[in-house]
Symmetry: C2
Subunit: 173 residues, 2 copies
């Protein structure tokens, strides 16, 4: 990966995440990256290819958050790690996570499939702990995670800690 390629991805991520996909033109990206516009199309074929490259490049960030949960065997730890998941997100990665939400609604590109292993791990954990509806419990908890992530990325300052502590107590953790 060339230095200019990195600049492009970096500028595009920031602009897509802040202004949105359609509101960000390729010329804007080029200008922000200090690069000729044609170079974007040389490396990424088209605008869609650019955003896909960003998503692929960020895949590792997704996995690093999830793998810790999926690998955990202790069911209580699975719940605890899931609930506190958003606190593990590096603020320098906020743009990337914001982009995930934006794309979900603007382009209806959903990263929900990436959450599937987490959901399975959760359902399994709830089952082990004797919950009556492990599948629904897992769905509900994931809804919460998405919600707290959303408010973390949109809100000005969000004391997610208070809510997270509350939820931990509700699940006896």
């Amino acid at each position: 990966m060339t230095e200019k390629q990195e600049k492009i991805l970096q500028a595009a991520l920031q602009l897509f995440a802040c202004e949105g996909y359609h509101a960000t033109s390729t010329s804007k990206v080029a200008k922000a990256a200090g690069v000729s516009e044609g170079l974007i199309f040389r490396h990424y074929k088209n605008k869609e290819g650019l955003v896909m490259a960003i998503l692929e490049e960020g895949e590792s960030r997704l996995k690093s958050l999830f793998v810790d949960i999926v690998m955990e065997t202790d069911p209580k730890e699975v719940l605890r790690k899931t609930i506190t998941m958003t606190t593990k997100i590096d603020p320098s990665d906020y743009d990337f996570w914001k982009l995930q939400f934006k794309l979900k609604w603007e382009l209806e590109i959903s990263g929900d499939k990436k959450m599937e292993p987490v959901k399975m791990a959760l359902a399994n954990a709830f089952h082990k702990l004797g919950y009556q509806l492990p599948g629904s419990e897992a769905k509900l908890l994931i809804l919460f995670i998405e919600g707290i992530g959303s408010s973390l990325l949109t809100g000005p300052e969000t004391n997610q800690d208070e809510i997270i502590q509350l939820l931990l107590k509700k699940y006896d953790l």
Copy 2:
């Protein structure tokens, strides 16, 4: 309101909700409404005015959902009505609610302030019921509601009922 004005609002709502704001051109709206493009600007000044008119026109739908909760005095009923809120949404209004979410992420126009009275009612209800952290409890529940709404509008078929039943049980309702 003229017949053609209604057609414009109706077409714009459907397109904005399905394709997104920036992905929908004014000429598309005009074509879908069976109207000359100039008419849009006569009535709504510009594209932003158009989407604002849609939001204003839909305000009643927002209020009708919330007023039932805010007016309720029995704290348990406040919780029950909040949790089952999304089941009261008319499927013909899905486009409008979808637009709310889309605008939140695409234009960062958030309708969260509209939820504030509900949050207050919830906090009050939790307080009456002896919960230790009424404010956080209210926040948490609203996160769940938004999550359920989100999955209701994005998912293909969503058995929200199961999750709603589960939530009702968790709050002893």
